[in-house]
């Protein structure tokens, strides 16, 4: 190890970004003390290196958010602190890591390894680093992932001043755990995945602390129960079509349930002899739980369009609407980004909630229509 250190120092790489984010809400918040606008900074540096001719590698990635108005959003997290070791058809990862399982766009049912960094976004794509020992094994008949996950990460929540939050302020000081091991419960996960021609298939199993907290009536204290989840994800490419499906069976308290998200993406390439591709997306989500226990995506249809300009600035635009087919609540979202020069990137996001049914979980966001601008410098 001592001999390895000079090699590590020599192979070190540094990358990341620093970003300023401005957000403005079109209406006053429905709960007391909620902010109307905000300007925050984030910093995400990453260091990495390798030794033993690349058979061993390390990486550290940190995320920091400075937020003057919402103390719940001001936070730091270690996304990665990892040692990677390659041994033929085995890959070992030991430390803290962030990973992604699944294929659908509107919701990520299968992706349960990492806790969601909820203050960073409602889409569940920002996640907290999870301690793990992870063995990936390659076989001719598929790839196996075995994970041991010691230590549980609590979900992040906005403070009273925050927008896009629950009707109550979450008290994160003393969460309730069903397991007597509390946040030291050791979780396990397994995944099989394989490509069969145009089909990518994954089957996974998770046993441990449910990442989604529950809130007992009248309480703002997160309650973390245990769960066992069996999941299937598949993606099929058929010329201009991509079909996607995620199905889960989650055995948890108060009851076991099933949920799915499935749909397609159809792309028009080079429309009107331009370089622009237009993808049209549609996904439907179903949740078998009783009314009142379900998540946001219970009987929801997501329809969207993705524009890839294929220009030198890699300009992209994604517009989508989530429509609750039972309660008729709607949430419209627009996301665009492009590069400026060689190392700057600008992002615009807009979200509008309309016709929100008071019984829909989205009702807490009803007054939270926003416009967000971010400018990031990459290095």
């Amino acid at each position: 190890m001592l001999i390895a250190w000079p090699v590590i120092a020599a192979a070190q790489e540094f990358s990341g970004n620093i970003a300023a984010e401005a957000i403005s809400f079109s209406q006053q918040g429905q709960f007391p003390n909620q902010m109307d606008d905000n300007l925050t900074l984030s910093f995400k540096p990453k260091w990495s290196g390798e030794w033993n001719n690349g058979d061993d590698a390390w990486s550290v990635e940190i995320f920091l958010r400075a937020d003057n108005k919402d103390e719940g959003r001001e936070h730091a997290d270690i996304r990665e602190l990892l040692w990677l070791h390659l041994d033929g058809d085995n890959e070992w990862r030991v430390g803290i890591n962030t990973m992604f399982w699944g294929v659908t766009e509107s919701q990520h049912l299968v992706d349960v390894i990492n806790q969601i960094d909820q203050v960073e976004g409602v889409d569940g794509e920002d996640k907290l680093g999870q301690p793990m020992i992870h063995l990936k094994q390659y076989h001719d008949w598929g790839v196996l992932d075995f994970l041991v996950l010691p230590g549980f990460r609590e979900r992040t929540f906005q403070a009273a001043q925050g927008r896009l939050r629950f009707p109550f302020v979450v008290d994160t000081s003393a969460p309730i755990y069903d397991s007597s091991d509390e946040n030291n419960h050791v979780d396990y996960a397994f995944r099989f995945s394989q490509t069969y021609g145009d089909l990518d298939l994954g089957v996974s199993l998770f046993k441990g602390t449910n990442r989604d907290p529950q809130f007992d009536p009248g309480s703002g204290i997160p309650h973390y129960v245990q769960m066992t989840q069996v999941a299937l994800d598949m993606l099929l490419i058929a010329d201009d079509w991509i079909w996607k499906l995620e199905i889960i069976h989650r055995d948890t308290d108060p009851s076991a349930y099933q949920a799915l998200t499935g749909g397609f993406e159809y792309t028009f390439y080079g429309v009107y002899d331009s370089d622009i591709n237009i993808g049209s997306l549609a996904e439907y989500s179903y949740d078998s739980r009783d009314e009142g226990q379900r998540g946001v995506f219970d009987r929801d249809l997501f329809v969207g369009a993705r524009l890839a300009f294929n220009d030198a600035q890699s300009s992209e635009l994604l517009a989508g609407i989530i429509y609750d087919t039972e309660k008729h609540s709607q949430s419209f979202r627009l996301e665009g980004n492009r590069r400026f020069g060689d190392s700057w990137k600008g992002t615009i996001e807009m979200q509008v909630f309309s016709n929100v049914d008071p019984s829909d979980p989205l009702a807490a966001f009803e007054k939270d229509d926003f416009l967000l601008l971010e400018i990031a410098r990459f290095f």
Binding site: N17, T195, I237, A312, D342
Partner: protein
């Protein structure tokens, strides 16, 4: 009687065949040149290289991309190749894996470091620009013989060399071209120039390759490839560096799930 039948067939065959051969000769000769070019390059096993792309728009404004390439020769199928992006900084760590399959659609995966997600993508976007450049995805793909039908046009001087000029028409689906005219030198089948004709049959782009170097005493690779789009005035200069052949790459280095561990 059966003997007479065979005799008649033989006479007809002798009379007709030469004219058939003659009628096919331009196509046959074009195909033979393409096969010879492929077989000249056979046995390179694998290579790694660095590629700098300089994009220039009509106003002369430039932007740059740095990409590392790893390619594995596959016996009896298209090559496997890996592109790892180092610049621009916002796509640093992005990696694209392609298993090419001649006439069948290629398998393609993209690793998105911001999401830490390996995403299967459609290889259908053959005629689309690669990273906003004047190179389309199909211009940078594995060059398999069966991807085109061929026709020998002529021989002529091409700079310091003598060249075969052949026409090739894409046989694979979703190409942006109706045909290409390619100049290959007679000595080592170096592809020195290609004219690309669009779906309206107009001259769309011209590729000129130069600064060829020989590796392992046999395999030739260009140091520069310049692609000019005649319709919109944009151009891209592709400069290759650090070519290394037979580096010991194996299938293990070209697994979709291994994209996560590349830097």
């Amino acid at each position: 009687m059966p003997k007479l039948k065979y005799l008649i067939i033989a006479i007809i065959a002798i009379a007709v065949l030469p004219s058939l051969v003659h009628a096919q000769s331009a196509e046959q000769r074009g195909l033979e040149i393409a096969q010879a070019a492929k077989s000249y390059d056979k046995g390179f096993t694998d290579f790694t290289a660095k590629m700098t792309m300089t994009l220039k728009n009509k106003a002369g404004k430039t932007s740059r991309r740095n990409i590392r390439i790893k390619t594995l020769e596959v016996e009896g199928d298209g090559d496997k190749s890996l592109s790892i992006f180092d610049e621009p900084a916002d796509v640093k760590g992005t990696a694209m894996l392609t298993f090419s399959h001649g006439l069948e659609p290629d398998d393609q995966w993209l690793y998105l470091p911001a999401l830490k997600k390996v995403k299967r993508i459609s290889s259908r976007n053959k005629s689309g620009p690669f990273m906003g450049s004047t190179f389309a995805f199909e211009d940078l793909g594995s060059q398999e013989v069966e991807k085109y039908s061929y026709k020998f046009l002529r021989e002529e001087a091409c700079g310091e060399w003598q060249c075969y000029v052949i026409e090739r028409k894409p046989e694979y689906k979703h190409s942006g071209y109706t045909r290409q005219v390619a100049w290959l030198d007679k000595e080592a089948y170096r592809l020195v120039k290609v004219d690309f004709y669009d779906r309206k049959k107009a001259l769309l782009k011209t590729l000129v390759a130069s600064d060829f170097n020989q590796y392992l005493g046999h395999y030739w690779r260009p140091g520069k490839m310049h692609m000019v789009n005649h319709l919109n005035g944009k151009s891209t200069l592709l400069e290759w560096a650090d070519y290394q052949f037979q580096t010991g790459l194996t299938d293990r280095d070209f697994r979709s799930q291994a994209l996560k561990r590349l830097k």
